[in-house]
Symmetry: C2
Subunit: 127 residues, 2 copies
DNA sequence: GTAGGAGCTGGAGTGCACTCCAGGTCAACC
DNA sequence: GGTTGACCTGGAGTGCACTCCAGCTCCTAC
């Protein structure tokens, strides 16, 4: 199964421009081309794109994704390094979640605090 | 108690440049000045700065923080609107956490997958 | 055979959130 | 009274991750 750039964009959630941009900066390998010179993405290509969007969603910077892509390109010999990268990235995602959760508590507090303002009309509380 | 800009930066985790930048764009009110014309932050100022860093950490864009700051500036009459903003923001933070957690599952899967590669030396698995 | 639409390239432009800089002031200490 | 160090201002520069554009080609449908 092959996919046009529009279909690849649709499937991955990236824009067409972003797909070409990712190719330009070496984040994805140049896909095959059809008889008219247009990009023709394979299922494997799509799988990689979708995985990239996960890394992006979790805040991995592009330069790190590119490093990962380059290791991947060098084959099975780099599997350990790649696993290590994902391992470390997972830790940072967990830390990020913890950070967000601690901020959530502050928001919860603030929101209930506003509730008091609204019900008792305490003056001067403007935070 | 008052604080120099360096102390405010230290306490809030923002840089000195960022403090001046936030003031310039109307995110924080201009603090008092000492006899030498230097910024002199109050405890209230610091409290606001710390709260801003929470909003920032949770990904609120500056333009929204500024909107919030402007409402706050208009006093208690805008408390409802501000509470509503925090309420909506909290929902987006929760959504973000859920998104990260779902990506974490993908990472977990990938990482255990790499484990298989390392132990059984399956060829061709390069994702 | 031509009009329309998708896709192509190289390169310029955008928005966000800072970050840095030059050139100056001010207070304190030696 | 000179040097040092923190701070001041307005404005320019940075890094990231896209996003847009002009001008072109190619295929399909009428």
């Amino acid at each position: 199964m092959t996919y046009s750039i529009a279909q690849a964009a649709e499937h991955s959630g990236l824009s067409i421009d972003t797909l070409r941009y990712y190719e330009r900066i070496g984040l994805v390998d140049p896909p095959a081309r059809d008889s008219g010179g247009r990009r023709s993405y394979s299922d494997d290509d799509l799988g990689w794109l979708v995985f990239l969007t996960r890394l992006r969603t979790t805040g991995m910077p592009i330069r790190m994704m590119r490093e990962y892509a380059q290791l991947r390109h060098r084959g099975a010999a780099t599997a350990g390094r790649r696993k290590q990268m994902l391992f470390e990235h997972r830790a940072s995602v967990r830390a990020r979640i913890a950070e967000l959760q601690s901020c959530l508590e502050v928001l919860d507090y603030k929101i209930s605090h506003y509730g008091e303002i609204e019900h008792t009309f305490i003056e001067g509380i403007t935070a």
